[in-house]
Symmetry: C2
Subunit: 344 residues, 2 copies
């Protein structure tokens, strides 16, 4: 008996190979619970081996893969609520799936932490899994290590090959649309820099962005190209322009500026809506014939979808030109005042 007890103690000591095995248990247990509740069909093997195993998608589908790294001090302020860090780390990745019209399957999580704090980890995992459960996106693998706080998620989804929303599929003459209301997240960053109080609702727009997965799914077969707004509409549209060899005209009076920004000078609000990042709304292009259907999608999702401009032939000049209410291009000087968003 004494020998057995010694053996158990010895084994316990061996298992305690640093705190990181325990951290991994927090995540693997939650992942297992979620798999048991939701029984996903493609995940053959999750956490616990050298790698995860996914079954083959259908031959007419594509597997969608995206990765995003969030660093303390770059993507979130030091001292941010760990629930929000967990939530946002997955949200920005899901947003990339949404922009492709993909349905989420799963994700891997790599996490560097300065030390193992139960309070931090439980809150982080709660934020992460609350969103994962909402979208049926399963944690299938990960890595935990010591280091400055850094969260790297790689997310997987599936989409029918013929309906994927790519950046290179915008066509001249199509309408340009954007979801939601723009500028709130950037305003929340700005206020924090000025040490001003940020209303809870506005802080949530920065810390808990809504990945537009449902919208992406509904836009299959309707939108041609799409992307999610992480660095600001003005800069992000240039990516579609470059990939599709087109330009954009944007009517700035049509921009769906976040109502809470109406207290600001119109120019400042417009700058935040055009160049503020972290909104994670979708911008997409579609043939004019789909305008009515897009209106119906907006109603059924309870999400504003606003036609803000159009796709034009690639010009030698700027990929994105802003127009005033009368349809006249704003000056070069006006455009030059737009500052690219640099997170914080």
């Amino acid at each position: 008996l004494a020998r057995d007890r010694n053996r158990r103690e010895y084994e316990k000591a061996l298992i305690k190979m640093g705190e990181f095995a325990l951290i991994e248990r927090i995540f693997s247990q939650r992942a297992a619970q979620m798999r048991q509740a939701q029984k996903p069909d493609l995940i053959d093997l999750g956490i616990g081996d050298d790698a995860a195993l996914l079954a083959a998608i259908a031959a007419d589908e594509q597997l969608v893969v995206s990765t995003d790294m969030l660093v303390e001090g770059t993507h979130f302020f030091v001292g941010t609520d760990p629930f929000a860090i967990g939530y946002k780390s997955l949200a920005v990745n899901l947003s990339d799936l949404a922009a492709m019209g993909a349905a989420p399957l799963g994700f891997t999580l790599a996490l560097a932490l300065p030390q193992a704090s139960d309070r931090f980890l439980e809150a982080f995992a709660s934020g992460l899994f609350s969103l994962a459960q909402q979208h049926g996106c399963h944690l299938i693998g990960g890595d935990t290590t010591r280091g400055p706080l850094n969260v790297c998620i790689t997310v997987f989804g599936r989409v029918p090959r013929a309906q994927v929303l790519r950046r290179d599929a915008a066509r001249v003459g199509q309408d340009l649309w954007v979801s939601g209301q723009l500028g709130a997240a950037a305003r929340a960053v700005q206020l924090q820099y000025q040490n001003q109080i940020v209303e809870a609702a506005m802080l949530a727009r920065l810390q808990k962005p809504q990945a537009r997965i449902d919208l992406g799914l509904r836009l299959r077969g309707i939108a041609s190209s799409a992307l999610d707004l992480s660095d600001g509409l003005f800069g992000d549209l240039a990516h579609i322009a470059r990939a599709s060899h087109v330009s954009f005209e944007v009517f700035i009076d049509l921009l769906p500026i976040e109502p809470a920004l109406q207290q600001l000078a119109p120019d400042k609000a417009c700058q935040l809506a055009l160049c503020g990042g972290d909104d994670y709304e979708l911008a997409f292009t579609a043939d004019a014939a789909f305008a009515h259907k897009i209106g119906q999608i907006s109603l059924s999702l309870g999400l504003p979808l606003t036609r803000i401009g159009r796709v034009t032939a690639a010009s030698a000049g700027a990929p994105v030109t802003c127009l005033d209410a009368t349809g006249v291009p704003l000056s070069r000087r006006w455009h030059q005042k737009l500052k690219p968003y640099e997170h914080f």
Copy 2:
């Protein structure tokens, strides 16, 4: 004309959205070159959209996914040659594919850097792509951001479903094998801590581990379970033991200890071989009937494959028991002196 020139300058200023767009260009150009040279069949869309797109693997295959994060000061010393950082970041991920018997397909790279240094990035990319090319493993997506140096790679591979090497497939009575020679990487870490000179060959074992992809492929249909040795044989075997509900007996006199460690006291060399991490060799189990075939694989790969023990019924005690030359279990006290590897 003047107007066009102004437009061009304005556009140039807009494109220069921070240094990170340029960094991403370094990687995307190399990725494009490699895709053009090797023409992989499953990668429908690489870098440049919100996400990458992979075509479906065959229905009787599984997609293998693994992620590893390397942090400066935890996984490599400050001031490590950036070529080695790039090389090792991919090597440790490929090693996970090898341990599943998978063939590499591609990877995503997320990189946090304190500042953009051309010299660092070119060397890092050269290390990374030299290994990627060797294994036909294509960079399909990424993220670059400002932050303490951190490299997170997620790697993808494919394996026939019936031949995957999983940790839960070891069976009582099978032989336990290990590839290569053990302990050199841990010795290199130890010497650096002691501010001693590390021979180039030994430093390379730490900085440029060889992912045993070829071995993993040859072990399909021969090995039952496998894993790669990142935290040391003794601790890593416990993972197979737990997953397969078995135990292991290891003959310490059969351990393939790195010859360069023969100058050390036998106990010290044994500790390094048993508990030293970062070797990235494969440990695997196979039916005794395969011993001859495994010998042939060893010869054809020019890689030592050593039978070091056997799979036994799960014992209430330790998952791994070391035996002396006469087959007698070493004492509990002897086992307790084995220290788990904590990288550095």
